[in-house]
C-alpha cells in the first residue's frame, strides 16, 4: 500500500487531484440520489476530473512525442478518459444521471488500480506500433469498450429495476425513463459498432505490419470472442427477441470477456512471445 501511495505521489498533482475529483464527484452523485441537491457540484467535480485526466494525457503525449496508449498503465488512464467522456455525453442526452456515482467510483478505482501497472521506466513505441493506424485502432477500441462498459452497468442495474417505466422529467433521479434494458441495448449497439471498426482496422493494419490479416494471436482471438459475444447479443435480440434478463446476462458475459481480452489474456502462457505482447 505504501508503495502504491508513493507511486501515486510520483504521478504528480494533476493525477492526484483528478482522483480526488472523481471521489468527491462520486460522493456528490450518490448524495444527490433521492433529492435535487448536489447535482451541479457532482457535475462540476466529474468534469474537473475529466479535464485533469485530459491534461495529464496531453502532457504525457507532448513530453514524449508519442501517444500515451502503449502500456497497460497508459491505456487504463485513457480508458478512464473515454468512459468519462462517453458517460457525460450520455448523461446529458439520455438523462442517465443515476449512473454518475458508479462511473465516478469506477474511474477512481481504475486510476488507483493502475498504479499496479505503473510505468517504472519510460517505454518507447516499438517499430510495429509506429504506424498511422495505431491511434485510430486504439481510440476506436477504447470508445467501444467504454460504450460496452456503460451497457454492462445498465445490464447490472436491470436486475433490481427490471420494469420499464416513465418517470417523468421532474423525477428526483434526473431520469425520464427507467428502462435499463433498452439503455443497455443502445450502448451495446454503439459499442459493437466501434468494436467492429476497431477489429476491421486492426486486421488491415496487421496486414501491413505482420503480413497477415489474422494470425490467431491470443489477443486477436479474444478480440474475436468479444466480437462474437456481442454479435450473438444483437443477433438473438433481433431474431429471437431476447430482452430483459437474457440480454442482461449476455451483456455481463460480454463485459467479462472484455476484461479477459484487455487484462487477462496477458497472463495466459500462450501470450508469451505473442505478436501483441509489447512490454
Amino acid at each position: 500500500m505504501e508503495l502504491i501511495y508513493y507511486r501515486l505521489l510520483s504521478e504528480g498533482y494533476i493525477y492526484i487531484i483528478a482522483i480526488f475529483s472523481f471521489l468527491l464527484g462520486g460522493l456528490f452523485y450518490i448524495s444527490s440520489i433521492g433529492r435535487k441537491k448536489f447535482k451541479f457540484q457532482a457535475n462540476i467535480l466529474f468534469l474537473l476530473g475529466f479535464a485533469l485526466i485530459t491534461v495529464y494525457i496531453l502532457k504525457a503525449w507532448l513530453s514524449t512525442g508519442q501517444p500515451p496508449f502503449k502500456t497497460m498503465f497508459q491505456s487504463l488512464v485513457f480508458l478512464v478518459w473515454n468512459i468519462s467522456l462517453i458517460y457525460f455525453v450520455l448523461e446529458k442526452t439520455e438523462n442517465l444521471y443515476f449512473l454518475g456515482g458508479f462511473v465516478s467510483f469506477f474511474n477512481l478505482f481504475v486510476l488507483v488500480f493502475s498504479m499496479v501497472f505503473t510505468d517504472l521506466v519510460k517505454i518507447n513505441l516499438p517499430p510495429s506500433l509506429r504506424s498511422a493506424w495505431f491511434i485510430p485502432h486504439v481510440v476506436l477500441y477504447f470508445a467501444g469498450y467504454s460504450f460496452l462498459f456503460i451497457g454492462f452497468l445498465m445490464s447490472v442495474l436491470y436486475f433490481p429495476f427490471p420494469k420499464r417505466r416513465y418517470l417523468g422529467e421532474a423525477h428526483w433521479s434526473g431520469q425520464m425513463w427507467k428502462d435499463y434494458d433498452i439503455f443497455s441495448y443502445r450502448a451495446i449497439l454503439y459499442g459493437f459498432m466501434f468494436l467492429t471498426l476497431g477489429l476491421s482496422l486492426g486486421a488491415i493494419w496487421a496486414k501491413g505490419a505482420w503480413g497477415a490479416f489474422w494470425s490467431w494471436d491470443p489477443k486477436e482471438n479474444w478480440a474475436l470472442i468479444t466480437w462474437f459475444v456481442y454479435l450473438i447479443y444483437l443477433h438473438m435480440r433481433y431474431v429471437k427477441g431476447w430482452k430483459g434478463k437474457k440480454s442482461a446476462i449476455l451483456s455481463i458475459i460480454g463485459f467479462a470477456v472484455i476484461i479477459m481480452t484487455y487484462v487477462g489474456v496477458n497472463y495466459l502462457p500462450s501470450a508469451e512471445g505473442a505478436l501483441h505482447a509489447y512490454q
Binding site: P127, L189, A203, A209, K240
Partner: protein, 492 residues
C-alpha cells in the same frame, strides 16, 4: 421404449466416434478435455441437425461454439486447432447459415435491409478471402546476410518459420540494413525501503533543477568515463574504466590496457576501495572529488629550479604517480608515492599508492563488444539539504533513510529497423509497417539479429485473397455503421 434406448445407443455411439476423431486430431491433449470437447461437439451436431441451418438462431449457436473453441485453444495454447478440418467445417457451417439467412430475407432497398445485407455479406467475403488464402497463399522467410544473393526461402506456417526450403522465383540480396534506437538518457530510480528490501517506486527523467523525492538534480559532470560491457551470463552493464569491483565471486577490473604498475587505494574509516591507476582515468574519492592519474615516475625526482617532476631512469626505486585532484573548490596537482603510505589526504579519505599486487586476484570474466563499446561522459550531481553528491550510472545507490536513489541507464530500445533489398534489378527499402510489393509478392521487414549487424529477416507473402479481405473488412465497417444508423432512425 425400444426407440428411446436406440436413441441412447446412438448418442453413446456418436460420442465414442467423436472422441475417436478428437483423439486423432488432438493427440497430446488430456483425455478430460477431449471428453468435454466431444460433448460440446455432440451437442452442436445435435442442435445443427435439429434446427435446420436456415433457422436464424443457428448462427448464434455456432458463433457461441466457435467462441468457446477459440477460448479453449487460447487457454491451452492449442494453435493447431485453427488449421484442423473440423474447425474449418464449423466455420463453413456458420457461413452456410449466414447465406441461408441472406436468402431467407426478401430484398428491400431500405436502410434496414442494407445494414443487414452489408454486415452479413462482409462476413461471407472475409471468410471467402481467408479460404482463398488458405488454398493459394505463399509465405516464406528469408534469413538474409548482407551482400549474399539467395533464392532459398524458408516456408512459414502461420507465424512460425519451418525448416523447409522453398525456391523463390527471384534472387534476393540484402544491400543494407540499419537499426535505429531511441536516444536514452540516464534516469533516477527511487526505491522505497520495506523491511530489508527496496522496491522501485519509479524512475524519473533527469531535468536540471527538478526535485525528485527530496533530491535536486544539478546536472551531469564529465568526470567519468565508462565502458559498456557484456559480462557474466549475458548481463549487460556499464562500469567505469579503471575501477575494481570486488564481489562475492572475485574481483572485476576494466581497463584500456594503458596502465601504470601497482594499485591506488582510497580509504576512509568506513570504506576502502582499490583502483587500477590508469592514465587519465578518473578515480572517485568520496562523493564529489575526483583524482585523475596523469603520469608515472619509476624513480621520482623533483627539479626545484624548473619546478617539475621527472624520473631519473626506469628503475623502480621511488615509484610515484602524478594526480590531478578535482574538488568542488578547484583543481590541483599532487604526487603519491609507493614507498610512502598514506601520502595524500583528501577530505576524510586517504589516497595511497600500492606497488605490491600479490594476494589480489584480478580476474576479468567479461567480453567486450568493440562495436557496442561506448565511451560516455555521465555522472549525475545531486543536491540534498545543501549537500552535494554524485551518482554514477548503475553504481551503488545513495541511501537516505526511507529511500534509496540510483542513477540508472536504460538498455537501448529499438525505434526502427530497415533493409535495402535488391530483387532482380529493382532496389527498394522495407521497414516495419512499410512493406513493398514487387510482382505480386509483398516484402516485409520481419526481424533482425542484434549480435549480427549484417543480418536481416525478410518475410515474403503472396495472398490471392488479399483484395477480397480488404473489401470484406471495409464492408464490415460500413455494415456496422449502417446498423447503428438504422437503429437510430427507428428510435427517433
Amino acid at each position: 421404449m425400444f426407440v428411446r434406448n436406440l436413441k441412447r445407443v446412438q448418442f453413446i455411439a456418436g460420442f465414442v466416434l467423436i472422441d475417436l476423431i478428437l483423439d486423432f486430431l488432438l493427440k497430446n491433449t488430456p483425455h478430460t478435455y477431449k471428453i468435454i470437447a466431444g460433448i460440446v461437439l455432440l451437442t452442436i451436431t445435435f442442435f445443427i441437425v435439429k434446427k435446420i441451418l436456415s433457422e436464424y438462431q443457428t448462427a448464434g449457436i455456432i458463433l457461441a461454439v466457435l467462441a468457446s473453441i477459440v477460448a479453449y485453444s487460447t487457454f491451452l495454447h492449442k494453435t493447431n486447432i485453427y488449421f484442423t478440418f473440423w474447425f474449418n467445417v464449423l466455420f463453413g457451417l456458420l457461413l452456410v447459415s449466414i447465406l441461408a439467412c441472406i436468402f431467407a430475407l426478401k430484398p428491400k432497398f431500405n436502410l434496414r435491409y442494407m445494414s443487414f445485407l452489408t454486415l452479413h455479406l462482409s462476413i461471407l467475403i472475409v471468410a471467402t478471402g481467408f479460404l482463398v488464402n488458405a488454398l493459394g497463399m505463399k509465405k516464406c522467410y528469408f534469413p538474409l546476410e548482407k551482400g549474399k544473393p539467395t533464392n532459398d526461402c524458408l516456408a512459414m506456417k502461420n507465424t512460425e518459420v519451418t525448416e523447409k526450403k522453398v525456391n523463390f522465383p527471384f534472387a534476393v540480396t540484402l544491400q543494407d540494413f540499419k537499426v535505429l534506437y531511441y536516444e536514452q538518457r540516464p534516469v533516477l530510480g527511487v526505491f522505497l525501503k520495506s523491511g530489508r528490501e527496496y522496491s522501485l517506486i519509479k524512475t524519473f527523467p533527469l531535468e536540471i533543477g527538478k526535485e525528485i523525492f527530496g533530491l535536486k538534480f544539478k546536472g551531469f559532470s564529465d568526470a567519468a568515463i565508462e565502458l559498456r560491457v557484456l559480462w557474466g551470463e549475458g548481463r549487460e552493464g556499464v562500469f567505469p574504466i579503471g575501477r575494481i569491483i570486488i564481489g562475492q565471486r572475485g574481483a572485476w577490473a576494466f581497463s584500456t590496457g594503458d596502465e601504470f604498475p601497482g594499485l591506488i587505494s582510497v580509504a576512509n574509516e568506513r570504506e576502502r576501495k582499490l583502483y587500477l591507476p590508469i592514465k587519465r582515468q578518473p578515480i572517485f574519492v568520496g562523493k564529489v572529488s575526483v583524482a585523475i592519474p596523469e603520469d608515472f615516475y619509476p624513480n621520482f625526482k623533483y627539479d626545484i629550479k624548473e619546478k617539475r617532476a621527472f624520473s631519473d631512469g626506469n628503475e623502480m626505486k621511488n615509484p610515484a604517480v602524478k594526480l590531478r585532484i578535482i574538488t568542488p573548490r578547484g583543481e590541483k596537482e599532487t604526487f603519491i608515492f609507493a614507498t610512502v603510505r598514506r601520502a595524500l589526504k583528501l577530505g576524510n579519505y586517504v589516497i595511497s599508492y600500492i606497488m605490491d599486487t600479490k594476494g589480489l586476484s584480478l580476474i576479468a570474466p567479461y567480453k567486450v563488444f568493440p562495436k557496442k563499446t561506448k565511451l560516455e561522459i555521465l555522472r549525475g550531481i545531486f543536491k540534498e539539504d545543501g549537500e552535494e553528491f554524485a551518482l554514477l550510472p548503475n553504481d551503488e545507490p545513495y541511501f537516505n533513510g526511507r529511500f534509496a536513489y540510483r542513477l540508472l541507464t536504460i538498455p537501448p530500445q529499438e525505434k526502427e529497423y530497415k533493409s535495402v533489398l535488391k530483387v532482380n534489378s529493382r532496389i527498394f527499402r522495407v521497414r516495419v509497417n512499410h512493406p513493398y510489393k514487387y510482382k505480386g509478392y509483398m516484402f516485409y521487414q520481419s526481424n533482425y539479429n542484434p549480435a549480427n549487424p549484417d543480418f536481416s529477416g525478410i518475410m515474403v507473402v503472396k495472398e490471392p485473397g488479399e483484395l477480397l479481405l480488404y473489401i470484406g473488412f471495409v464492408l464490415m465497417s460500413i455494415g456496422a455503421l449502417l446498423t447503428v444508423a438504422y437503429r437510430r432512425k427507428v428510435w427517433s
